[in-house]
Amino acid sequence: MKFSYRWIEEMVEGLAVRAPELERLITMKTAECEGVTPVGEHFASARVARVLTVEALPKGKNKRVTIDAGDGAVHTVVCGAPNVRPELLAVWLPPGTIIDGRELGVAQFGGVASEGMLASGAELGLSDDRSGLLELAGLQPGDGLPKLRADWVIEIDNKSLTHRPDLWGHYGMAREVAAIAGGKLVDPVDMTLLPRGASPIKVQVEDETLCPRYSALVYGNVVVDPSPLWLKFRLESVGLNPISNVVDITNFVLAELPQPMHAFDADKLVGDTIFVRLAKAGEHIDALNGETYELTPADLVIADGAGPIAVAGVIGGAESAISKSTKRIVLESANFHAATVRLTSARHKIRTDASMRFEKSLDAANTARGLARAIALMKDICPAAALVGGVADAGRVPAGVPPIAISLNTIHRKLGKAVGEGRVADIFTALGFGVEKPKTGEFLVHVPSWRATKDISLKDDLVEEIGRIVGYGEITPAPPLVASVPPPSNPIRSYLRGLRLQLAAQGFTEVYNYSFVNEKTAARFGLAAADHIAVKSPIAAEHTHLRRSLLPGLFQNIIDNTRNFRDFRLFEVGKEIHPRAESELPDEVTHLAAVLYASAGDERDFYEQKRVVECAFPAASLQPVEAHPWEHPARTTEILWRGAAIGRLFELHPSLLLEEGLEGRAVLFDVDVDRAVSLAAEGKRYVPPRKYPTSGFDVSVVTKLRQPVAEVETALVRLAGEALVSIEFVRQYAGPPLPDGQKSVSYHLEVGSLDHTLASDEAAAIRGRVIEGMQELGYELRV
């Protein structure tokens, strides 16, 4: 939203603060400013000039033009405008003029010295017309441009104004400025201008919630002309395009009070009644922007006897638009339901200066004020026009909020700073609040209509008014006086910290992947799109569903990083999102998944990743399981930890990598951290070190090449019985003299007793028991 400093200044008597300082004050106390830009600096030296001669230059479109600028001399300028011609009255910017921050001089064009320039409407900031020179009338060479002076545009972030409908116009901002910078607020509206008597038109509002108030006036004898330069400049400065005197007046009131208005060509309307109603199914409207909109029964429209003539609060219809030939007009000044306007605006993707304001909940008291302000402007700018009858005014200003009681103590407590009673009262008054003082230290505050539509209803809202005007910089930071208590713990976060640090120490780098997958990436890991929660309006084709697995993301990480690295390790901690029954939130399960990739890998990578798993989950047991299609059929295990399956360790099926042209190996593990953390809490118990020495022996068992050694170990453990202290895998061997398809597996066993040193025959007996037992199980032993 752009604000003209001059416009504000006109409504704040005695304003002593210049634009840059005002910008800072507004930022600190009201809303965020995004910059202040000088505009119209060139008006100080701009002069009216009459074109004397025009002579084409040999090359290009440029012409050598001589002008009379009323100073007795003939000046030469080079000009390329198509409309330059003798006798034309144009605006001359002489050398020395500051325009857009640079100074004009005498420039050479094709050997001709050009003294300054002749300017277009766009160059002067009076319109967006760049097609030729601005043409003047009724002025003399040497005249300055009437009522035009340099100004500053203060731009304010719209987002910081969402809760302040009153600040979508200069008058509201002027009130703030008077309160924060000092000065007396001057109301530009003269309500006595409103005509009395019956209006020639009737207004029928179907639903007063959707349209609390609709006020209108009828004018005859209207002459539609361009606006005077000062009005064009003012509108152009704040980003509104000048169109014609009538339309510009409605836009002026929009930008001032703020009250959006609309002018209909009265002769184009059917019947004498204006209907404010919801659109009927199938109705459509040709709008001012040249588009046709199919209306829905949720859109509020303004209609005449024949159908919609405007989309309420959003855009007017083309058919009843003001044109050169318009003679009679209906001026609409209404108030519409904010959410309805917003939804219509969003539904049809039309955002206008009017809709932007209406969706903030405007003050219904402004409809009549808008008309009064328009009357004053019509007298000045369209003097021939004559009012017809009185104001048609349907609806009313909705009841405001009840007065709010607030104490000085509340303000002190909330701000952490004492503010004097007189100061508080002054601030409320300056902002337009009514203040009653039932007793010392207490206020009863009446909220003005322009702050009551949604902004202020609680005492906390009033605390903010005091706080911001006093200035938050006045508050001294202070620690609170509260009990010092240790916070509740977060076991999963603590646990994950340990895991993350451990993995990083083992060479894994943490990645963050998106929570999204798509049909293709999920399918690779056996997940059907239908089993996922879908995004309703996905922005990107690769982000259509919520991930049920971290694997698709990690797989992409593998592909991407092989471009730059031969070998790498990475991991992610993230949430799997599993749909649950309708209306229930999905099950979000925290997972840890890690990849070890080696471009020239072998089975050692599997064992390395297995080691990582065993470090992270000490004493985990990895059991061979049937592989999923994305897992290597012979290199897939389930991770059992403390009696529960917590995840899987597997080599990625080579086909997935081969499809991507990758020859390497990827070993992954994927663990359900929520489950692991529930097991991790298990308490530990001290076992005293053994008092008596143990004795050890080795056994070598010959078995089938593909028999898992874990089975051999299990048998050994069982046979050694209670005396077993530890068992350790020593080596395995295949090859001569063993027959093909056989291997020898060696274990070292330590045996002992808690209450004595084993005698040599005791140890030998255990060894004998183990050997015999293994033989009974059909193993051959190499002793």
Binding site: R493, Y512, I533, L546
Partner: protein, 361 residues
Amino acid sequence: MQESQSKVDSPAAEAANERGTSPDFVLENLRRATLMRLASVTSLEELEELRVEALGRKGPIAQIGKEFGKLTPEQKAALGKLLNSVKQELERAFREKKSRLEKEELAERLRREWIDVTLPARGVRPGSLHPVTQLQWEIEDLFTSLGFAVLDGPEVETEEYNFDALNIPPSHPARDMQDTFWLSDGHLLRTHTSPVQVRGMRRLGPPFRMIAPGRVFRNEEVDASHEHTFYQLEGMMVDRNVSVANLIYFMKTLLSEIFHRDVTVRLRPGFFPFVEPGFELDIQCLICGGSGCPVCKHSGWVELLPCGLVHPNVLRLSNIDPDEWSGFAFGLGLTRLVMMRYGIDDIRQLQGGDLRFLNQF
């Protein structure tokens, strides 16, 4: 070594040559010959051989000792004295030689064991944690030390928690399609970490202090400065008489810790439906110190975090009586802070999984 052995006879042989002559002579001979040979010994093995020959149980000294019984007491005394002195001298000489040889051997071993210490070490190097994780931990630790609980909430949220309970009415623009990822099951991806405030209020009950770091989502196009997935850290404190002055205190403490220096902050009005009054907190630009530079867009200030006193409606919606309790809340853009800290100019890097980027942290 071969040569020296052929030149010099063994002590035993020499002593035998002199058999018949006096033991005094034999001993003196042994002493001289042994010391001479000792001088040319170059290894510990040789030394041990020589020692056994000269001083061993079968050596000449032992032999002489055996014949001791035949002597008179006077002879015994004289010979015993001589025997001991020769024995002691030789033993000392052997000890010294042994120690010298050991030193030499160690020195030789050390010379032999030269390695190129500049060769690269084997094994994996540590990986690294995501920069957001690292910054998040710093802030978690700070707030934990100040008595704040660290809470988690789901990434998929209900409309109630994400909007209603935060005083964001159904007509609020934040609910429009363009900002929120709506889901096929009727829920949404949380647009901020603020729903965890609601969960915290309901779970902990007043008084409490909590923070909630996490992943949030906005339905927008991704480019160098916009992401649909980013990270926030929400904070909230509810107690009796919590004031704006307390809020500023915590924010100043937080930011001084994050930036490892004293920071100047300013509060200005900001509008957020879940706080009243609401603020934008700016810090004085750390690059230019407030004099104006491109980073702060020449304003001297950088907008950092929205905050405010918890809106009474928000408290009430979570069954906390706003007349008894008050609180503050703030939302820190973790992603933004990380980008500021490391000068990261492309937000997409953070979700990109590119190890060339991630390994730098």
